[in-house]
């Protein structure tokens, strides 16, 4: 989702050559950077932006799937989907905490999401139209996320890298439950198989877009690679994903919606069509099918939870006051 997070990140920085060199030496020696360590402002800013966009993606990512929990076809599927969506909520929380170690508050981050100032992965601005989409999302969207997140486990920033390791451990069931849904549909009736194929047709390209713009158009990538915030290029990860996924589609008996997809013996990988970058930028900039609905849903949840947060804080204050009074009386 997640290298997309680098869109708009500004790595420019103002420190002395000496400072930057010392920092780079630590990064090159694979020493993790921890919250209170000296770091360039550009490094901090890039990370806050990337980690928070990643966190927002996990939170918004609960919406398209959450929508299907009540309509899951069996209790087994329902329990699995519920657990998966709950995991995504947890991922959002691990990541917000990692961003907060860089000196930004949770309230600010939430505010940036709700006002539309922050970005999140474009994939979640597509609807989940049928039950088969839930299968395709697990297989392709979580699959793409895993590809990206495994690469981030070795990020130079300690808290982000640790959050990624934890998240990766939890992700693999997400992909497997999705694939299993599609496998069941593909072994079912013709209508079920057709439904699976249509879901893959819808989600294939948006899933490839999750890796972010072409390397040539990914402006701040170099600095991020240099600081080891990011360790593989967008295109590199996208290729890896295609190579891993096409055989899985073949096993399902489904086709990937790309007439130009072809094995290239020489590079030992698939060639595939160019992505519709106009669509990509349109969705990133707010004009996808669901952008407005997603933000509206988050705003509504925040608004409707306000009284709970207020009451909890008021209750905590009251109890702390009572405890203080009891202590004073006892002295």
């Amino acid at each position: 989702m997640y290298s997309q997070g680098l869109i708009g990140a500004d790595g420019s920085t103002v420190e002395t050559e000496e400072f930057l060199e010392a920092f780079q030496k630590r990064v090159d020696a694979e020493q993790k950077i921890e919250p209170n360590d000296p770091m360039p402002e550009g490094y901090r800013r890039t990370l806050v932006r990337q980690i928070s966009q990643h966190a927002h993606s996990e939170i918004v990512g609960m919406l398209p799937e959450g929508n299907w929990i009540t309509r899951a076809p069996t209790l087994r599927r329902k329990a699995a989907l519920l657990a998966k969506v709950q995991d995504e909520g947890g991922h959002g929380l691990y990541l917000y905490s990692a961003a907060e170690t860089l000196g930004v508050s949770r309230e600010e981050l939430t505010d940036q999401l709700l006002t539309g100032a922050a970005k999140y992965s474009s994939i979640f601005n597509y609807p989940a139209l049928t039950w088969a989409d839930i299968g395709a999302i697990g297989w392709l969207v979580d699959g793409a996320a895993i590809m990206n997140q495994i690469a981030l486990c070795r990020c130079s920033y300690g808290p982000y890298s640790r959050a990624m390791i934890r998240i990766c451990k939890e992700e693999s069931f997400h992909q497997r439950q999705g694939y299993e849904i599609l496998l069941t549909l593909c072994r079912g009736t013709d209508a079920q198989k057709k439904m699976a194929q249509e879901a893959v047709n819808r989600i294939w390209w948006p899933a490839l877009m999750m890796f972010g713009p072409h390397d040539s158009a990914s402006t701040h990538s170099d600095q991020s690679m240099h600081w080891k915030i990011k360790r593989f290029s967008n295109d590199n990860l996208r290729d890896k994903f295609v190579n891993a996924t096409v055989p899985q589609a073949e096993y399902l008996g489904l086709t990937v919606p790309d007439p130009n997809l072809k094995w290239n013996e020489e590079k030992q990988g698939y060639d595939y069509s160019d992505i519709d970058w106009d669509e990509f930028w349109r969705v990133v900039k707010g004009d996808g099918i669901c952008n407005r609905d997603r933000i509206k849903a988050r705003q509504k949840a925040h608004r409707e939870g306000a009284w709970v947060r207020e009451a909890a804080l008021a209750f905590a204050e009251k109890r702390a006051g009572a405890a203080d009074a009891a202590r004073t009386a006892a002295e």
């Binding site: 000296p38 709950q86 691990y94 905490s97 949770r106 309230e107 959050a163 947060r309 804080l313 905590a316």
Partner: protein, 95 residues
Amino acid sequence: MSEKFTPLWEVFIRARNGLAHKHAGSIHAADAEMALQAARDVYTRRGEGQSLWVVRSDQIVASDPSDKDMMFEPTASKIYRHPTFYEIPEEVGNM
């Protein structure tokens, strides 16, 4: 922002009986009871623990990374604190 900040808590988990509690991450919660519940939901969804601690983050006193050399460097030269510094004849056996 008009909204009040919800306090931050650090979460420690004891994975198994006999092990120490280990830092797992942090969460926001209004009070200790809710912090424990949130920590359970966020950090122990797969049997990661047998016991949880939550501590208000602002109650933790930490050493300053810029004092790292002063704090920890002196121990590097004190090799006589390690058993391998001492020579014991082999005939004496394991010690």
